[in-house]
């Protein structure tokens, strides 16, 4: 698991650095293939989500498809994608 901090600009966690993660297995084909699952601590709640338990205790992985992958710098695009997802958080 690769854990990193993202600070959303909107939503319940706006202005707070939130821990988020991707599974190493999903990074095997990076940068050609982006990860699909965004792992978040259970305290971060998204209203509409298709989720499954994360391999990290007390975390949940959320299904989120990134749009237009390959048309921007991969690192910037991924951070922007996760920031957008975190902006949907209700708690």
């Amino acid at each position: 698991m690769v854990i990193y901090l993202i600070e959303p600009v909107d939503g319940a966690w706006a202005g707070t650095a939130v821990e988020t993660a991707v599974a190493c297995a999903e990074l095997a084909r990076w940068p050609q293939v982006p990860p699909h699952w965004i792992h978040l601590p259970d305290k971060v709640q998204l209203q509409r989500t298709n989720s499954q338990p994360s391999s990290k205790a007390e975390w949940t992985m959320h299904s989120r498809q990134i749009a237009d992958w390959g048309r921007d710098d991969p690192g910037v695009a991924w951070a922007s994608h996760v920031r957008g997802v975190l902006s949907e958080a209700t708690a």
Binding site: V33, W69, G70
Partner: protein, 497 residues
Amino acid sequence: MSRETSVAMTGATHRALRQLLLRGDGQEDLCFATYRASTGRARRTALLVQPIPPRPGDRDVHGNATVTGDYVLRAANEARQMGGGVALLHSHPAGSGWQPMSGPDRDAERSYANLAREITGLPLIGLTLAGRDQAWSARHWDRGVGREVERTDCVNVRVVDDRLRVFWHDGLRPEPRDTGRQLRTVAAWGHGTQADLTRRRVLVVGVGSVGLDVAVRLAASGLTDVTIMDFDLVEEHNLDRLIGAGPRDVRLRLPKTHVARREALRNATAADPRVRISDRSVCERDGLAVALDHDLIFSCVDRPWARAVLNSLAYTDLIPVIDGGIAIDTREEGSMRNATWRSHVVRPGRPCMVCTRQLDMSLVALDTQGLLDDPAYIAGGGRASGLRQNVAPLSVNVAAALLAQYVSFSVAPGGFGDPGPLQYVLSTHELHHLGPSSSPSCMYEPSEPVGDQRADLTGKDPVAERGRHRARTSPLILRLRRSISGRLDERHWRTAF
């Protein structure tokens, strides 16, 4: 295992080398270039990457041409730094067609073969450019060591440009025997073109409605070496589109490749056609190795992962991919609103499938995890289950669009090669030339051919494994009947011809 050898280059590399090798004064010249290896299951290809022009004093032109040791060392060191090998190229200004090796040519290349391999770890590649028709010939100095070093002549040299030009070693891959069954085809584009096209090794990935039609048409046009790759079985819901397949094939749980091979052989016009089948997925490492043995690939699959692999190797390994698909737009009550089909050649110089929005890389992650067909995941609200609407009268248009791209890319009617991405709109019956350009961040199109150094997109493909498992675990009686049926089909075809 003995391997065939080949060389491939882009049109831009061909032009740069032509500029270096064909002199105004009509004398022979030479230069070096770097290459990277692309290793298939049965063929090893040298992908030319970068010419290394001679500096003043690097070579001596005196009718023939000779090089200095410094030039050889510089070229080999440049090649080593990029993890590649070195190619020695020279011209025969008055030559045409595949060039035989003269004694001096052979001695010159042999004298550098050991040094180049010592420094780069890869064999020296020798190439000759014939001045009259700009035909290439090539060999890999890959056998023996020291004074015993020997060459393996290449089967062909491929130049991937707005058309695919293939130069053949007639001794290793002779012109197919004339059967008299291709008179109309030969009349359309001439004997020379037919002798080229029919020798090309073509892979059709996916033999659903489109791939089956494509494979049959290729065999009918006289191709001698076609491979069909699929892992699915024929099922009842396929019968409205798999022309040639019948209820008996469903009962026998026949793999689609068997049906496609049967239909291709029934329609083949070559004297000795070879239609090989593979139940691998191109997403698997050994499936990719099969793909790397081919000169041209038809992408007739809709799975994003397979399309991502094919999209990549069109640039990394210089194997052009002819791709297309259909989208049928339905209204909520179920009636048809519109249908569009698209086709394009994926190759250096043309935008990749991601830039033309024909491939969504975010779906590849789902596909690799088997989630696109996972009912539990779909039920969880992640995405709608795709019905993948298609109808027989329209799928033939996709096959026709792909084959038209193939003819333009191979024959260049009127001097025009592949036309770029095309879209046909059924509702208004309009054909659009699409003008998408490569994204500045495109990971494929601007890159050099990297061959075996490509980013590995392959892996364990659970969908393919399930397909093969279903074929293997059929009841014994079905497998026996399938085997007998296959033998009878084979005998019928042999007798009929």
